[in-house]
């Protein structure tokens, strides 16, 4: 067991030296134990031999040899541990260096700064540094995968949200349609009820009409009989009127004869007067007679005229009576025909009423069935409406879940971004790079540089340089993300003290690049988070902060 001289080359990080020392120590310990065991065995054998009276010289030989072995081994062990003692300070120094490196590495690793952690791990043994670098690389890849996954989760959440919104819109439309259909069905049900009521009334009315038809038919039959009787009587009257007319014609003929006689008498009287005049004085008395005859003829004529007038009136009345009876007879015939037609119509009406009543009852029954079906449909639609409402609620929950998922993805992204990776997708790395470039640039061009850097991104809203006093000295606005909002001017913010801002205080305190939790920006009014890189002066003093605001709606473009 010798102390391996490779302890002096421990800085090379030989993985076998530690193991070698351990083996040697173990061997030494094992050797001591074997020798101790041998000594004990020898002693035991010696004791046994003494007790049994056997020769003790083997035992004594064994004991001596054992003791010699123990002594030799002891000398070796002593040499081993002296050499070990000589190497111990160097190892202690190396250990301290390793401890410091490891501490720094772990500190950076603990703060998520893998870049600095890898840099710090270079002070560790090669294998350790290599292993750490590999681990950091793996962790970086994991972080990036987490970022990618968070972006995918956010995209999926957005997609879910979009789908949920579309489904919610569709559900809303469906709900509205269901409401409309329900209202229409209820209206249909009301209409069906009204139709059923009307049909019932129609059936009742048709039944009444049927009964009325029976009464009407009987009445029509009586009317027909009455009209026929009237027709007979009118015929009788007409016959009598005809007879009277014939008699009046005879009377007219008599009157004509009398008139003619009166005319002849009149002429005779005139001729008598003529003869009387021709007779001269002797014809005077004859002239008187002629005058009398003439007057008689005139009176006859007047009487005939009177009688004729009376007869004309009588004949007029007879004619009127005949005309009236003829018209009455025609009217009676028409009434008879109309009565028969009415009887036929009533019979048809009765049949129609019967059919109407039957149909009305069928309609009533059908509408009642329709009513029941409508009620079932309304019930079903209400259930559908409830389902739609539940689905809408579910979609709202889904949307809320998607929002939470989105928020969770942002948290995960921020969590992943909490690692400082050597990647363009690492916000800390990006902002520290910007800070280094801007710090290296002259203050006069810092503004322009920041504007160029901001416009190159699709997710940064603002980038602003705040000095150690907390005052903004440069402000870059990304027109692509800020859009049509009122432009922010540096002049408006130069006098605003940022020292109390959480991100400023965190950067000033921890002297490392940090990412805030999402908050509402007082500059833009939007929800954003800020990546702020701490600036250090050459003397190590705090030199200010470069802050970059990232809108929470655009973080997936990182």
């Amino acid at each position: 067991m010798s102390v391996d001289s490779s302890l002096a080359a421990g800085s090379a990080g030989s993985a076998g030296s530690a193991g070698g020392w351990r083996r040697r120590s173990e061997n030494a310990l094992v050797g001591w134990l074997l020798l101790a065991g041998l000594a004990i065995v020898g002693t035991a054998m010696l004791a046994l031999a003494a007790t049994r009276g056997a020769a003790a010289w083997p035992a004594w030989l064994f004991v001596v040899l054992s003791l010699a072995a123990v002594g030799a081994h002891g000398a070796w062990v002593l040499r081993f541990f002296r050499r070990l003692e000589r190497r111990l300070p160097a190892e202690e120094e190396r250990f301290e260096r390793l401890d410091a490196s490891l501490g720094a590495t772990c500190l950076q690793l603990g703060s998520g700064d893998l870049v600095r952690a890898v840099a710090a791990s270079r002070g560790l043994p090669a294998r350790v540094a290599s292993a750490f670098a590999a681990s950091a690389e793996a962790l970086s890849r994991l972080a990036q995968q987490i970022q990618d996954s968070s972006v995918e989760v956010a995209s999926a959440a957005d997609a879910v949200n979009r789908i949920a919104s579309e489904l919610a819109a569709g559900s809303a439309e469906q709900a509205a349609s269901v409401v409309e259909i329900t209202a229409a069905m209820e209206e249909l049900a009301r209409t069906a009820s009204q139709i059923a009521a009307s049909a019932s009334r129609q059936a009742e009315l048709a039944t009444l009409a049927e009964e009325s038809g029976d009464s009407g038919a009987a009445a029509v039959d009586e009317a027909v009989a009455g009209v026929e009787e009237v027709k007979k009587r009118i015929s009788a009257i007409a016959s009598r009127a005809d007879a009277l007319g014939t008699r009046s014609k005879e009377i007219y003929r008599v009157l004509d004869l009398i008139t003619e006689i009166a005319q002849e008498t009149h002429i005779l009287s005139l001729n008598a007067a003529i003869e009387a005049v021709a007779a001269g004085p002797d014809g005077r008395r004859f002239s008187v007679v002629a005058d009398e005859v003439r007057r008689l003829a005139q009176r006859s004529q007047d009487s005939v005229e009177s009688v004729r007038n009376l007869l004309d009136e009588f004949a007029g009345s007879i004619r009127a009576t005949i005309v009236a009876t003829e018209e009455g007879s025609k009217e009676a015939v028409q009434v008879l025909e109309r009565s028969r037609a009415a009887a036929a119509a009533i019979a048809d009406l009765r049949h129609a009423s019967g059919d109407t009543a039957r149909v009305a009852r069928q309609i009533s029954l059908a509408t009642q069935q329709q009513n029941a079906a409508s009620d079932e449909v309304v019930m079903t639609l209400r259930e559908v409406s409830l389902v739609v409402q539940r689905m809408t609620g579910g979609l709202k929950d889904l949307s809320a879940t998607a929002d939470r998922l989105n928020a969770l993805a942002l948290e995960i992204q921020l969590l992943a971004q909490s690692f400082h990776l050597d990647s363009a997708r690492s916000l800390k790395h990006l902002v520290e790079t910007w800070a280094a470039r801007a710090d290296a640039a002259a203050p006069a061009v810092r503004q322009q540089l920041l504007e160029e850097l901001v416009r190159e991104t699709q997710f940064a809203d603002l980038a602003y340089w705040v000095d150690e006093r907390g005052y903004m000295t440069a402000l870059a606005v990304n027109p692509a993300t800020i859009g049509a909002r009122p432009a922010l001017e540096l002049a408006q913010l130069q006098d605003v003290d940022m020292r109390r801002r959480p991100w400023f205080r965190s950067a000033e305190r921890e002297r490392r690049t940090g990412i805030t939790a999402p908050y509402q920006s007082i500059l833009t009014g939007e929800h954003c988070f800020t990546v702020c890189a701490c600036l250090e002066r050459p003397d190590g003093a705090f030199g200010g902060v470069l802050a970059v605001d990232v809108n929470v709606t655009g973080w997936t473009r990182i």
């Binding site: 005319q263 002849e264 002429i267 001729n271 007067a273 008187v288």
Partner: protein, 166 residues
């Protein structure tokens, strides 16, 4: 002894003055006029005689008839009196009268619509017919004048002018 007049009859006619006979006229209806014919010139009043038109005659000559075994020219009194056409007569008559100047009288028939009465037309009551243009008589002298009888105007005919040329 003359027969007593019947009851309700007018009193017996007084003694006729010598001119009353000539003033007595037969009233007949011709168209819408009432014409007066001197009763002394009237031979007889008959029911309208059957007429036989004479081709080529004037419209006033309605035709020829037979009266008492003699031919009788029958004139249309309404045309002679220039009377407007009246209603269809119910009892037309033919008045057979002496026409023409006193020395050349002939019997003619005058077709009238009705024989009305015998009336006394004093000459003073007859308004002579007004002469036409250039002094001629538009009626050919057949209308002696107009008289007022029983509330209506009567055309008094002059039969003496009948046989003379127009």
């Amino acid at each position: 002894m003359p027969a007593s007049p019947p009851l309700n009859s007018p009193p017996a006619a007084p003694a006729e003055p010598p001119g009353r006979v000539e003033a007595t006229h037969l009233l007949v209806r011709a168209g819408e006029y009432v014409c007066a014919l001197p009763l002394g010139a009237v031979r007889q009043v008959l029911r309208s005689l059957p007429l036989h038109p004479l081709p080529g005659s004037a419209p006033e000559l309605r035709g020829l008839a037979e009266f008492a075994g003699d031919p009788l020219p029958v004139l249309d009194l309404a045309r002679l009196a220039r009377a407007p056409q009246g209603a269809n007569p119910t009892f037309p008559v033919t008045v057979v009268a002496w026409a023409g100047p006193p020395g050349a009288r002939e019997l003619v028939g005058l077709a009238a619509d009705a024989a009305l009465d015998v009336a006394y037309l004093p000459p003073a009551g007859i308004v002579p017919a007004a002469p036409g243009a250039a002094g001629t008589n538009p009626d050919g002298g057949l209308v002696a004048g107009d008289a007022w009888v029983g509330g209506q105007v009567v055309r008094v005919m002059n039969l003496e002018q009948l046989g003379q040329g127009s």
